[in-house]
Subunit: 431 residues, 2 copies
C-alpha cells in the first residue's frame, strides 16, 4: 500500500509563528485513497536541509509532497534543490510565464523581474495550475536507487530490491493556494496514476472512560491480526477509537469488527468522527423536541457556550445563567438561602436546587446545575479543589453526580461540562 511523506519548508514554521496545517488538509484526503502519511518533516530555507529531507523521503515513501519554497525570493529553494537532486534541468515555461504576467496586469501592478523565476519548470515535470497565486505546482516521476540501511534496534529492517518508482509533488505554501490545487489537480493525478487502494476507516468516539480502559475493552478483537489497525486518540474525558481495514473484503471486515466493538463499548460511544458531544446532545434534543436551560457557577458559561456553538441550538436551548455569586443563585435561579447557609454553595443539595430552580423558572424539560471549585485556590480539606456537583433535573426526577476533576481551571471546566452533556445524552437515550 502506498505511503507518503510531507515536507514543509519555511522559517516561520520553525520559529513557531505559524501553525503547519497542511498535514491536516492533505492526510485525510490521501487516506480516502488508501495512501498513508508516514512522516512529516519541517525544514528551513536551507538548501542542504531540504536536499537531505527530500532524498531521504524518496527512499522511504512512494509519494513525496513538498510544500512551500516556490516563491520568488532568495529564501525559496524548493524548485532549485529538487531539480538538482533529481538531475533535471530547469527551463522557462512560456505558458506559465504568460499566466503570471496576466495576474499582475489584471491588478494593474508592475511585475517585479524576480517573479519570472516562478516560471522555471524542471524537464519532464507536469505543471499544476495555481488559480490563487503566481507559482504553479509541479509533479515529477522519479526512479530512485535504494540505499542500504542498518537497523538501529534489535529487530531487523525489511530489505528492498530493484529501482524505486516515486512521485514527487511540489506545492505552494499558502493554504489558500495549496488547498484548491490539491483537490483540483493532485487528487485526480493520484487516482489516474493508480495510487488508490481501498481502505476503510471507522471512528467511534467515547466519553467518560480513560484510554487504557477503552483499549482493554477492544484490543483483543484485533490481537495478532495483520489486516486491521486499531488506534486511540485521547483528550480529557474523551477517547476516539479508530479502526482501519484494507484490501479485498475491507468493508465486510470493518462492518463485523465495528459491530463487535460497539457491543463491547456499549453506551460510552456517543458519536462518530465529526461529532462533538454537544453536537450529539443538541441533535437529540431537537429530535425528541426537548428544551434545556442551565445554571452554571464554576463552569462560568462554558456549558452554555458549547451548546450554543451548535447550529440549531436556539430551538432547544432557552437560557443559561452564570450564577457566579450566591446572590445570583438566590435571585435568579431560586436557590434557598437556607440551603446555601446549611450546606454551602458547593454541595449536592445546592446543585439540585440549581437544576430544579432553572428548570422551573424558564419552563424547560431539562435543567442543569453545576457548582464546584475550579481552583487553583478555594479548596479545603473537606471540599478540595476539583470537587464538583452536577445535577440534571428532568421529567422523571433529578440526578446528581459528584466528581473530583483535578485539572487546570480550563480543563476542569471542560470535563465538568462534558459530564453534564453526557448526563443529558443518557437521559434522552431512555426517552
Amino acid at each position: 500500500m502506498a505511503n507518503c511523506e510531507i515536507i514543509a519548508t519555511g522559517t516561520e514554521l520553525l520559529l513557531g509563528y505559524v501553525v503547519n496545517t497542511h498535514p491536516n488538509y492533505i492526510a485525510p484526503r490521501l487516506g480516502s485513497l488508501g495512501i498513508r502519511v508516514t512522516r512529516i518533516v519541517t525544514v528551513g530555507d536551507d538548501r542542504q536541509a531540504m536536499a537531505d529531507a527530500v532524498s531521504q523521503a524518496l527512499q522511504r515513501a512512494d509519494l513525496v509532497i513538498v510544500t512551500g519554497g516556490l516563491g520568488p525570493t532568495s529564501d525559496d529553494v524548493t524548485r532549485d534543490v529538487v531539480a538538482e537532486l533529481l538531475g533535471r534541468r530547469l527551463r522557462e515555461d512560456k505558458k506559465v510565464l504568460a499566466k503570471i504576467k496576466v495576474r499582475f496586469r489584471v491588478r494593474r501592478v508592475r511585475m517585479p523581474k524576480a517573479i519570472a523565476v516562478q516560471a522555471q519548470v524542471p524537464e519532464g515535470a507536469r505543471v499544476l495550475p495555481n488559480d490563487h497565486g503566481t507559482a504553479p505546482g509541479l509533479a515529477m516521476e522519479a526512479e530512485v536507487e535504494p540505499e542500504e540501511k542498518v537497523s538501529l534496534l534489535r529487530e531487523p529492517l525489511p530489505v528492498k530490491y530493484g529501482v524505486l518508482q516515486r512521485l514527487v509533488v511540489l506545492l505552494p505554501g499558502p493554504p489558500r493556494e495549496l488547498q484548491p490545487m490539491f483537490d483540483n489537480h493532485v487528487m485526480p493525478l493520484l487516482r489516474a496514476r493508480g495510487y488508490a487502494t481501498p481502505a476503510v476507516c471507522r471512528v467511534l468516539r467515547t466519553v467518560g472512560v480513560g484510554e487504557s480502559w477503552v483499549a482493554e475493552m477492544v484490543e483483543s478483537l484485533v490481537k495478532g491480526r495483520r489486516d486491521v489497525e486499531l488506534g486511540y486518540c485521547a483528550r480529557p474525558n474523551e477517547v476516539d477509537v479508530r479502526l482501519i481495514t484494507r484490501g479485498p473484503g475491507a468493508v465486510k471486515l470493518a462492518d463485523e469488527l465495528e459491530a463487535r466493538m460497539r457491543a463491547r463499548l456499549g453506551d460510552i460511544i456517543f458519536g462518530g468522527e465529526n461529532d462533538r458531544l454537544e453536537d450529539v446532545v443538541v441533535r437529540e434534543l431537537i429530535r425528541w423536541k426537548r428544551t434545556l436551560a442551565t445554571a452554571e457557577s464554576c463552569t462560568g458559561g462554558l456549558l452554555a457556550s458549547r451548546i450554543t456553538n451548535v447550529s440549531g441550538s436556539s430551538g432547544v436551548f432557552m437560557e443559561g445563567i452564570v450564577c457566579y455569586s450566591n446572590e445570583a443563585k438566590m435571585r435568579d435561579v431560586g436557590v434557598r438561602a437556607k440551603a446555601l447557609k446549611t450546606h454551602g454553595a458547593v454541595s449536592r443539595p445546592v446543585a439540585r436546587e440549581l437544576a430544579e430552580g432553572i428548570r422551573r423558572r424558564v419552563g424547560t424539560d431539562f435543567g442543569i446545575g453545576i457548582t464546584g471549585i475550579a481552583g487553583p485556590t478555594g479548596g479545603t480539606p473537606k471540599k478540595p479543589v476539583g470537587l464538583v456537583f452536577i445535577a440534571l433535573a428532568g421529567p422523571r426526577g433529578t440526578e446528581v453526580r459528584r466528581m473530583i476533576c483535578r485539572y487546570d481551571r480550563e480543563a476542569f471546566k471542560f470535563v465538568a461540562t462534558q459530564t453534564a452533556l453526557d448526563m443529558v445524552r443518557r437521559a434522552l437515550r431512555v426517552s
Copy 2:
C-alpha cells in the same frame, strides 16, 4: 549557537486529525534563550521510524525534544526506543510510581496495571514532574559519535570533529501536560546547563488592528539593522509583536526599541507575552475595584466563560445571563417588549437595554450586552450574518459598537467577546 530538533510522535498527527501545536509553544521560548529550532519531524507509533528520527536528530542538533508516546498503551514507544538507542536500562522509579498511584486514589478510580509502565525511567535520566497527567518527562545527556555525511548538492558540508554532546528531552504529548512542564522544568534546566546565549525578547500584544497595519507602524524602527529581529504573529483580532536583541548591549537596545514601539502603537497594546485580554481586564477590574455583569445572546456564554477562566474573577464578576431567547431577555434582563418589537433583537437599542438592564439588575459598575447573528443561517439583506452590536454600560453612560464579523460561528464569538473585553479595558484606562 545551539540548535534544536523537535520530534513529535502520534498516528493522530500523521492522519491529520490533530494539529501539531508543540512547535508554536516551544520554538519562541527556545528562541528567547537563543536556541534555534532547525527541524521538526512527525513520525507514527513505529519503533523503527522513531529510532531513525532520533538518531538522525542527535547527529544534527544540540538539543533533541521528543513529544508524545509516553502513554501506557502498546502504541507508546518513545521511552523504550530512546532508552534502547542510548543504551540505557529502564528501571521502575518508586517515587514516580507512588505519585501516579495517588492520582488514581484521589479520583477514587482503580489504576489499570498497564499504567505502571509510565514509572519506568532510563538510567541516568532526570525526571521532570508532570502535575497534570501521569507520565513524567525525562531528560538525558548523551555523547554521540559523529557520522560521516556526503553532500547531495554541489556545495560541501561542514565537517564535525570529536564526540557530540547532546541533551535529549522526552515530554508528554497532551499540550496541557507539556506546556507547564516545559515552562517549569525544561526552561530552567536549559538555563542551568548553559544553553542560553544572551538574547532579550520583548513581546507586545495588540488588539483590534490587522497585521499589516501593525507592521507598518513599527517596521521602520528596525529597517536594515542586523542586531534586532522583529516578528509578528497574528490571530483573529490580535497581533503579537516580538522583538529580539542579542549580544552585549542587548538589554539597553531592547529597552530603547520597546519604548519607541510603545509610543507608536499606543493603546492598541493590551499586555505582554502571557497576557490574554481577559487576564488584563480582570486584573484592571480588581485594581480599580469595579464589578461587572454580562447579558450575552449570540456569544452564548463565551464572554462569561473567558472572564471566569481568570483566577480572581469571582471578586469582580457577579453574574452572566445567556439570554438566548427573547423571553429570557425580557424576564431576566429587563429588555422592553416594545424595543424588541420595534427594532428587533439584533439592534442598537436592544444592545443598550441589555447592558443597562443587567447593570441595574445585578447592581454592578459595568454591564455588557451583546446581540448579533453568529450564522451560518439567520441573516437577511438588512441584517447579514456577522452583524453584532456590543454595548458597555458604566458610571459615565453607555457606549454601543456595531461590527460585522465574517467568520465561522466560533471565531465570530471570539472576536465579538474580544471587542467587549477591549471596551471594558479602555473604559478602565480613563478611570
